[in-house]
């Protein structure tokens, strides 16, 4: 697979250090915890700020302008406000579940972050079942939503939670189906190897047509999984006021909010890793001079740029489209996306078997 990239993960380094001194190993764990929290917090705030600014400019507005230059500290101020707000638990709620639900949501998001290769040297753990792992843990998030809706003892919340349950579980099928296309082409479920397999070109275009179709299906299905417009039915502001998190306030609301935005990043990062080459610069197999120019930008920057582009795309959807209805949502999944996904997977398998793609090995 001849890519000259040294890849190391945090897990590997910790494992190396562990036999020598327990302290060093513990240091790595601490580093991971602090780093992850910081990363999630900063990323969440940055994404919320970006969302507000992007939304504003789509709508001929300016967005936050007051706190700091161009309002860059607005989200910081809002976060601080949320931290200090009273955490209200409704009297008739299922108290334990109500308090626990946001953590389930947050945990799913954090667990997914573990496996993402953000650059050759920034990855926490590189599992040989990376794709499977991410699919599994992101599906865990629905548990938080369901718990939140059920424990709130609010009918609107319950409606939102039920919508979320049906929606997320259905769309997981399509998302997985499109992930399998890439797994077929790259021949691995390990995310670092999937990235390396794209050294000669990204799967979105290297796999003719099926790559694009798989990308589109993945994007649509993931949007539904993270409940972004046009699939934001679980929150459905104009219908359910706030859906499953109607009864949440303060820090716990902030956790749902943060999980939602970081989820958006996880989806973008997954789309980037699988279809857009991950941290791999834009390469065309065999054109060495062109590839050399592309290599000038470090892999981390490539990853950030590509993810940012997908995030922007998701925001763009949100600020353009109306929302689907529950039955239409199901119809879209079971009658449109899933059949197309199956046909696409079959076509991809055929293409792999016969080597019908650009720059075969």
């Amino acid at each position: 697979m001849g890519s000259g990239w040294e890849t190391t993960t945090l897990a590997e380094r910790a494992a190396e250090a562990m036999p020598g001194s327990l302290l060093a190993g513990a240091g790595y764990v601490l580093l991971a915890v602090v780093g992850a929290s910081l990363f999630v917090a900063v990323l969440g705030m940055a994404l919320i700020y970006a969302e507000r600014k992007v939304a504003a400019h789509f709508q001929c507005r300016l967005g936050p302008m007051r706190v700091g230059p161009h309002g860059i500290f607005q989200t910081v101020a809002d976060t601080i406000k949320l931290l200090f707000k009273e955490d209200i638990v409704p009297a008739q709620s299922d108290r334990v579940l109500h308090l626990a639900a946001p953590f389930f949501s947050m945990m799913a998001t954090l667990l997914a972050l573990v496996a993402l290769p953000m650059s050759p040297i920034v990855q926490v753990a590189d599992m040989n079942i990376g794709v499977l792992y991410i699919t599994a843990v992101t599906g865990f998030g629905v548990l938080g939503v369901l718990l939140a809706g059920w424990s709130s003892n609010n009918k609107w919340s319950l409606l939102g939670a039920m919508r979320a349950g049906a929606q997320i579980i259905s769309y997981e099928v399509s998302a997985t189906m499109s992930l399998l296309v890439v797994v077929l082409f790259s021949g691995s479920m390990q995310l670092s190897r999937i990235v390396e397999s794209q050294a000669d070109g990204w799967w979105i275009w290297r796999a003719p047509v099926v790559g694009v179709v798989a990308f589109v299906i993945f994007l649509i299905a993931s949007l539904a999984e993270i409940s972004r417009t046009p699939f934001d039915l679980p929150e459905g502001e104009s219908e359910l006021t706030a859906g499953f998190h109607t009864e949440y306030s303060g820090l716990r609301f902030a956790m749902f909010f943060l999980a939602e935005f970081v989820n958006m990043f996880v989806v973008s990062a997954m789309a980037t890793t699988l279809f857009l080459g991950g941290w791999m610069p834009f390469h065309i197999g065999g054109v060495e001079s062109f590839n050399a120019v592309m290599d000038l930008l470090p892999p981390g920057a490539w990853f950030a740029l590509k993810s940012a582009a997908v995030v922007f795309l998701i925001m763009w959807f949100r600020w353009t489209f109306p929302r689907l209805r529950v039955d239409q949502l199901m119809k879209l999944e079971w009658k449109v996306l899933l059949p197309i996904g199956f046909v696409n997977l079959f076509a991809a398998a055929t293409a792999v078997v016969f080597g019908w793609y650009f720059f075969p090995f």
Binding site: H57, Q59, R61, L62, W316, F321
Partner: protein
């Protein structure tokens, strides 16, 4: 009813064409919509937000904007109000109380206090329209937020003496000067109908409760 005169035009039906045709047409419609939002996104000149407190210097309200009732005074501090109370009667919700008194020199009715309650005013402009002397004006001073609604009771007369025409008839300049001395801005109780005002005025209308004679 003559339907032919109506020229009715009938709504076009929304058609479905087929599985793949619908997907293609649907995706196209979505992309077109995205095109529109992106055009606004990529052209910051289309932003219409006005940064309000910062643009105070350039923000100009239209001349006719109706926000704050005023009793314009000319450069000598005179106004044209004769305390005829037509505005008070024109007001649909009793937001105006004109308090008059007998003038000390002329013996005629003159304006003492012009009390306007912005808190109950609906800015309907009826008082301005009704004024036979055109002495009232609504202006565009819209920054009126306060923490206490009693602060929205205004006395419009900076100078609450006789009108300029009456004043001009007073020969003695010393006496005239004494007449136009500014009085305090009103700071008494809210002028509910029938209550007595400091300085001996009484608001127009029937008292809502029996007037207390001892006050």
């Amino acid at each position: 009813m003559d339907v032919s005169r109506m020229n009715p035009i009938v709504a076009p039906p929304l058609r479905r064409s087929g599985f793949f045709a619908d997907i293609v047409a649907g995706l196209r419609s979505l992309l077109q919509g995205m095109g529109i939002t992106f055009r606004y996104f990529s052209h910051p000149s289309t932003v219409v937000t006005q940064q309000y407190p910062e643009n105070r210097a350039t923000l100009k309200m239209f001349d006719r904007y109706r926000m704050r009732l005023s009793l314009p005074h000319d450069e000598n501090g005179f106004h044209k109000c004769t305390a005829c109370r037509i505005c008070e009667q024109a007001c649909p919700n009793g937001s105006i109380n004109v308090v008059s008194r007998k003038g000390a020199v002329t013996g005629k009715t003159e304006l003492d206090r012009y009390i306007w309650r912005m808190d109950s005013c609906t800015f309907c402009n009826a008082c301005v329209m009704a004024c036979p002397f055109s002495c009232l004006k609504m202006n565009g001073d819209f920054e009126c937020s306060v923490f206490d609604k009693s602060l929205l009771v205004f006395n419009l007369t900076r100078y609450a003496g006789p009108t300029s025409t009456v004043l001009m008839k007073v020969e003695n300049p010393e006496e005239r000067r004494k007449l136009w001395e500014p009085r305090d801005v009103y700071s008494g109780p809210l002028p509910l109908r029938g209550t007595e005002l400091p300085g001996g005025g009484k608001t127009l209308g029937k008292p809502e409760e029996p007037a207390r004679s001892e006050t």
